[in-house]
Amino acid sequence: MAAKSPVKEPPGTSAVNPTTPLAPPPVKPELPSSSEPDVVNVPSYSRWFSFDSISECEVKFLPEFFDSRSPSKNPRVYRYYRDSIVKHYRENPSRKITFTDVRRTLVGDVGSIRRVFDFLETWGLINYFASVKTLKWEDKETKSSAASAESSSALKETSKRLCNGCKTLCTIACFACDKYDLTLCARCYVRGNHRVGVSSSDFRRVEISEEARSDWTEKETLQLLEAIMHFGDDWRKVAQHVSGKSEKDCITHFIKLPFGQEFICKESDSEDVDNKFFSINNPSDAVSESENVGATSPSKRMRLTPLADASNPIMAQAAFLSALAGVEIAEVAARAAVTTLSDVDDRASKGSLMRNTRQQEAGVASNGDATQNALARASVDASSLIEKEELDVEKAISGIVEVQMKEIQDKIIRFESLDLQMEEEWKQLEQVKNLLFVDQLSVLFHKSNARKNGDRTEENVKTDVS
């Protein structure tokens, strides 16, 4: 089977190869997979996968193969299932394989094959397309957001808006594009689940505030605070104590209260609160990730790619929640994260980071685009820092090059002077040769005269010689 596969990865480096294409995650979520035949996309949370070994992740999720309870379920059999399923998928990665295809080709009992298949599918090792909604976390998110939706009315004027992308009710916040007359819920906006011609920057954020529906009077706020002091994290009891507000309302109102309460977040019962706090903690991770990756360019369109990246569930989560939670909270959280990060670096870069943040904010504000948030700004800062460094490096390189050139020039000059000297000496030599020749001639001439004139020539020679 491997011989036929056009997406064969070179053996031995299979642990590395599937993940390297994903280090900058695919920007356009509409494309299911890359166009090169030798590249297979694997999500970064499945980096542990390797054909040659079994990771503890697999042991944890599929213990039946590893606890030697049944003689036919052993690691070898597990690897046989896993490897054949993955190879079968990778023969044609743009096609979704079904469990039935696979189980017909594998020898073994269908129950265990199904479990292995489901495991591989949830971890994105098979049937992994950027637009497929198979992640467990996202399913939970849609359930919780759908549960909070109320009546479905499609009118745009009312506060209830239906998303054009996924036809669900928009809660808390949605994104409206006036150019093309579209409304998207936060999820679809983050995913980029809109028509091809529309760019993410054409949308503006429209807050559907729950407080508009139910105002919090002083009395209720006081009750809320009392209840929280008494009951701590038990939101059910808090909701009971506060008359007329549901759990969710209490929690959201509490978060929006203008203390620094949002940063004091540890345990809480409901999923929702977890997720909101998670989003505050997460932008710090997300920012550090984006700084490390540093692949975004400062163009306006690209600024929103961290939001549009839905393939990494952590990033998608952070993007979605920051879009939901609003600019202020996300901004504050990201700023906090950024300051913490810059404490690690030296002071100089910290100062420049702050300056850049402010500059970028000014630039952003002047654009008047309300959908910018601190995540995007932080990534812009990171990219500007990188540019500076690049410039420095370039300068250094050009300096070195200049010095080398000068050296060469000096050498050339020296050689030229040497050459001149040589020429002069050569000329002198020639002259001396000529003189010598003249002398010899004259000697001969005199010799011949002397033979005719006897002693006189001898005397001449003698006087010449002396």
Binding site: M1, P71, T100, R104, T105, L106, D109, V110
Partner: protein, 240 residues
């Protein structure tokens, strides 16, 4: 080395598949609203029953069958499982039986005919392993053949196991004691045990006679499309 028949019948063993893993062969053949769904696979009876419905839903979704199939598939699987489980408490006599297993199946374009002996008492035997080796050795490229071969072997072993349960019951019923036991065993699928006797008599060798070689040789044929169509038509006619 003479093996007396009487001492070869051991004490009754609890019913189970005489293979290393206790998997049940399940065959599905459901027809609703003009659509026919035929399938065969192995099931692990220790999986919870909820698994049946999950599997049925998954299969219907993957094959895009109409939803009525879900209940039918689930029911069919359940019936076969309960049947299997009903045998589980009972005893079966497993004499030292080496049984012949015949393979005669067609999977897509591959036709397989084979005939070999299988030791029923070997509870470590693994039809899946056999199928894998068979496909590797015969160089079969179609990956669906392996499971089909394993399934065919398992099905036949299952049948034999059921028969031995039935024969064990008969032995209990019959009052004739040992003689009856021998008679019962020999009459019900015990013809194979006799083979064993004949084979291992002291004056015959273990090596198969040359004239019998062709019987036991595996035949793997790759069919062309027309032959496949012809065979399918014949099969349909037979089943209707």
């Amino acid at each position: 080395m003479k093996l007396p028949a009487t001492s070869s019948s051991k004490a009754p063993v609890k019913f189970r598949m005489p293979t290393a893993d206790n998997l049940v062969p399940i065959r599905l053949d459901i027809e609703t609203e003009g659509q026919r769904y035929k399938d065969a696979f192995t099931w692990n009876p220790s999986d919870p029953d909820s698994e049946v419905v999950v599997f049925a839903k998954r299969t219907v979704r993957d094959l895009k069958l109409p939803p009525q199939f879900i209940t039918q598939i689930a029911q069919s699987i359940q019936t076969q499982l309960t049947e299997f489980r009903s045998y589980e408490g009972q005893d079966m006599y497993t004499a030292e039986k080496i049984v012949p297993i015949k393979l005669d199946l067609r999977v897509n374009h591959t036709l397989i005919k084979d005939h070999f002996l299988w030791d029923l008492n070997n509870y470590e035997s693994d039809p899946e392993e056999f199928a894998r080796t068979f496909c590797n050795d015969m160089g079969i490229e179609d990956p669906e053949v392996g499971p089909a071969v394993a399934f065919a072997i398992r099905e036949q072993l299952y049948e034999i196991a059921i028969q031995s349960v039935a024969s064990a019951r008969e032995i209990k019923i019959s009052k004739k004691g040992r003689r009856g036991a021998e008679h019962a065993i020999s009459s019900k699928g015990g013809g194979n045990a006799l083979d064993l006797m004949k084979l291992f008599r002291y004056n015959s060798s273990v090596v198969r006679k040359r004239k019998e070689w062709y019987v036991y040789e595996p035949i793997v044929d790759i069919l062309s499309n027309e032959e496949v169509d012809a065979l399918e038509a014949r099969e349909d006619r037979n089943t209707r």
